[in-house]
Subunit: 228 residues, 6 copies
Amino acid sequence: MGVCVTNIARTPESVVEGYQGAEVATIHEAQGRKGLLASYMKPIYTGVKIAGNAITVEVAPGDNWMLHVAVEQCQPGDILVVSPSSPCEDGYFGDLLATSLKARGVRGLIMDAGVRDTATLKEMGFPVWSKTVFAQGCVKETVGNVNIPIVCAGQLVNPGDLIVADEDGVVCVRRQEAEKVLETANKRTANEEAKRARFEAGELGLDIYNMRERLAAEGLVYVDQKDY
Amino acid sequence: MGVCVTNIARTPESVVEGYQGAEVATIHEAQGRKGLLASYMKPIYTGVKIAGNAITVEVAPGDNWMLHVAVEQCQPGDILVVSPSSPCEDGYFGDLLATSLKARGVRGLIMDAGVRDTATLKEMGFPVWSKTVFAQGCVKETVGNVNIPIVCAGQLVNPGDLIVADEDGVVCVRRQEAEKVLETANKRTANEEAKRARFEAGELGLDIYNMRERLAAEGLVYVDQKDY
Amino acid sequence: MGVCVTNIARTPESVVEGYQGAEVATIHEAQGRKGLLASYMKPIYTGVKIAGNAITVEVAPGDNWMLHVAVEQCQPGDILVVSPSSPCEDGYFGDLLATSLKARGVRGLIMDAGVRDTATLKEMGFPVWSKTVFAQGCVKETVGNVNIPIVCAGQLVNPGDLIVADEDGVVCVRRQEAEKVLETANKRTANEEAKRARFEAGELGLDIYNMRERLAAEGLVYVDQKDY
Amino acid sequence: MGVCVTNIARTPESVVEGYQGAEVATIHEAQGRKGLLASYMKPIYTGVKIAGNAITVEVAPGDNWMLHVAVEQCQPGDILVVSPSSPCEDGYFGDLLATSLKARGVRGLIMDAGVRDTATLKEMGFPVWSKTVFAQGCVKETVGNVNIPIVCAGQLVNPGDLIVADEDGVVCVRRQEAEKVLETANKRTANEEAKRARFEAGELGLDIYNMRERLAAEGLVYVDQKDY
Amino acid sequence: MGVCVTNIARTPESVVEGYQGAEVATIHEAQGRKGLLASYMKPIYTGVKIAGNAITVEVAPGDNWMLHVAVEQCQPGDILVVSPSSPCEDGYFGDLLATSLKARGVRGLIMDAGVRDTATLKEMGFPVWSKTVFAQGCVKETVGNVNIPIVCAGQLVNPGDLIVADEDGVVCVRRQEAEKVLETANKRTANEEAKRARFEAGELGLDIYNMRERLAAEGLVYVDQKDY
Amino acid sequence: MGVCVTNIARTPESVVEGYQGAEVATIHEAQGRKGLLASYMKPIYTGVKIAGNAITVEVAPGDNWMLHVAVEQCQPGDILVVSPSSPCEDGYFGDLLATSLKARGVRGLIMDAGVRDTATLKEMGFPVWSKTVFAQGCVKETVGNVNIPIVCAGQLVNPGDLIVADEDGVVCVRRQEAEKVLETANKRTANEEAKRARFEAGELGLDIYNMRERLAAEGLVYVDQKDY
């Protein structure tokens, strides 16, 4: 038994586009330090950043059958987010599935398991964040679920949530909060730019953030090494 | 006590050459999903692929003495496959040993432990797949074995077996099966090319592989999100 | 309560400079196979090598407040070495702190935890060796220590010790031993160059290092495969 | 900023009681193989089994302040379920907090981090399932959340969900499904008892489950070793 | 496609019995420090030791179908040794299968994956060494192999090889070497008893093993702390 | 080359004795949350607690020769603390060495690697905290160091430092601070006893520690679930 939920609500593309200018670290801060997938999720090649709507897939260990079901649910601008029902490193995904997703306008894959054909995926320009790279093939025997809420790399992801991934990792933003979070993230980015100029000019964080007094209050003392 | 087996039988170079066109993932499928080394075996630099005959080496933890014994057994087209007798991350291998192997026409190293001098190895163009990179040096005190069957990264490797390694990992093919597996792999590659064209044209795996009926039989149901 | 030790003794720049020509693996050998940080310390991008004086920082888990205190203690040629008081993967460090350190002439960061903004750090050319990359933000609530002896990635590091890092990892040299170790390392490098020429010419380690007799004494026997 | 949700809906005690007779493995099967927390969650001592309503707590890394907030929300029959906002092994919990929880009738703790004072916890008879045992203390500086949905050890847990833990691990049952799942679990347990008698009598699973024909259809062949 | 090899050759029970008095550590030494399974293989309860003939099983990840095939091949005195074709932690084995094996006189299970129902297994007195304990259930969809050579926890195990397991772990002895290894192990045990008496009497290993001269030759020096 | 430092300064037994009443968690807090060895250091059996002076040993990977050198340096009340120069899981220690140490009045072993003969060690009542249990034997070829400062499981340990180990783990106290830390630990224990009585009586930590105001100031809000 399994279910494939169709016609899911998505984050509007106008909002998604705005996320192209925001970094994963900033977005995570902007929504109150939440939504980050585990640090073991790594890009298979660097120099890429994607933002899009989550199509969620729950698969059995060593079984990638449901990926084919999920492909049909994808629209341009989507990102496939896949999680096995128990920990697995097998290679669920390779260049043929990537070709199929690319033909539908999908922007990338977030896979809490292994992927393969990585040299070809890089050539094709199909970005993937995964737990590992492993050539181990999968069977197609057990039905799973598409577009139900899943836990992927320690984070709850609902279908239609916004996914942003860059070299620092992957963050999930609730669809309902995507607009507000973007606004906060953009302010944060602007604020960081201002700070950067001051740091470049040699100002210290101790002064910029006015930390000295509070550090002393918390008990920080300075001692010359010759007196230590 | 240790043994170094000489004059081992090898896979004929005519067969080995054929493997240059086949990928690790495809070869592993072609031989019935077996022979893959563990996913922690990673190339120290990308963009390389090698195929060759295994010279096997069993070493003591933190002791790389036997590598020098093994070098003498190598012929052009060989690949050194090394496994410690208990788990170890030390740097068994660096640029001097690589220079020696390269002088003998060896194509690369598969090391279930650490290696070092990786920047130089990349410059030299000597490919290595290893468990980790670690500068820790080794002693030369304990005798091991060369060209006996070993377990490397979870996989049995016999001397003279065929080793293929690319960005997806490392696969071992039994010497006796190398010709047949290549044939199957080539057919598989050809078949994948045909499939790729259909995926590029937007056909779905659900239809190409005729999956819909069986999915329904296994209980997959489609539900519109507004009814879920 | 915490302490920031000021005016620490440093390795003279004349000595530090000399280390630019020595590799981590060689330095570690030159000082008797000691001083290597754990193999999980990886550069966030390749093709870099740094040498400099350690400014040490002990931070609370998930709390990067003390990094700002440490920045003020940095001089040109220093390297920041950071260790959490219990294991943590959070992203303690990003592009703003890197901008601040760069403005002070700091050469890089050694972080036994996570870092973020790695794409920008690479663009800026600010080298980092870390346990992982993770966008997870930190708080600024708990005081730690600057320039006390710390254990970083399994290795004791004193303020003012010499740190060298390249693609093979990170090594720490005691300030008091830095001059002598460099001398030994340079001899070792020269010796390796001589050896390399012989290996390139096809000589075997078995003969260069005169190993055959001792191997036989330790019980190594050669057996033709047909007799095995 | 943080929130503590009060007066949460709970699974009725009449249902919770029924779970005392069901095993974690059986419950997980009964609800369609879902709800299991990661296998690294281990009991600090064996010979215990608990069932109760989840009080959920999200804490900052290395900061156990919110546990005190959570204690006040606990009622007899509850189980505290705690997850740090990023991975952490620190000892969030010891005998004083256990004394406080015990005084309120709480049945145990599920901690996706470290705990300490384990010898005393065993003496007190306060059961804990945790990621590790670690004496490392926590600060009380950062506000988190109580009784919001959290991801604990890879599994979504809502406040008021049913938690069952035994030597095999921890399973979470949605509050709304708790009654139905118990019914299925009880049937499954009864069915297993019947099967057990047949296995004890020497019948084979091949016959009890009528597997022989399907195995042959899937290609299983029997070969005598002398012909293999 | 899969194969079940029948009528395998076994180690004679007269030899197997002899192993009841030998420890895993001693056996491993007696056969030249080989045959040990990885250190992550732990008993689910302590105070047990088993010795018997290996019935080997290769299973698909998350699929325990072949265990039922294997049960039929078991005879009194056998030990089931199971390895998944790619790494997996799922609970392949529980009390019903244990009941079936016990009814056939099987002495225990070596499982390079997860097991469940551990409280019941302990009650039943059915010993298991496994990679982990995890309640996650398996499917029965994919055929594997019985009684072919497998790699289990990093070690090659042939059907009919001798398996010995105690609190220190699991060791595999080749069937053909079982008699000779036992003899060596027994001598070793006797020798250790003699040594033990000398250690109890306060003699030092330095003297018993005559180490002082060789230590000095290798460069060991003694320095009083006040001169260090 | 290696050194064995003799006649080391020790913590006076009068102080060591006082630590029998203090727990590892309390001692770690009493000295400002420092000194804890990594959480992977586990007792091989439960129900024990030891305190004593550190005899430190640095060994090569897979080489336990120096343990015999160290034994001679031990006095009644000492604890052996061993660390390999690179990570290793081999079984450095078994019942014969334990017999030798016991004969000298040594209280236990702290081993940042593997140990074996654990069933016998438990019978003998010789307590060990180790990284793992592994039967893998060691060679005796490489000289290391005794009674120099070492890093063991992430913590600096000097010879003569005080080691305390219980079920929560292992803590190291500097010899020079041992008396003062004990005093603080004892006060802390007394204070905890007072707190325990209040918790048992049902008082809340929120009130005992007067947290409510500060929590509100930090932004904690209470919301009834029906309004959330």
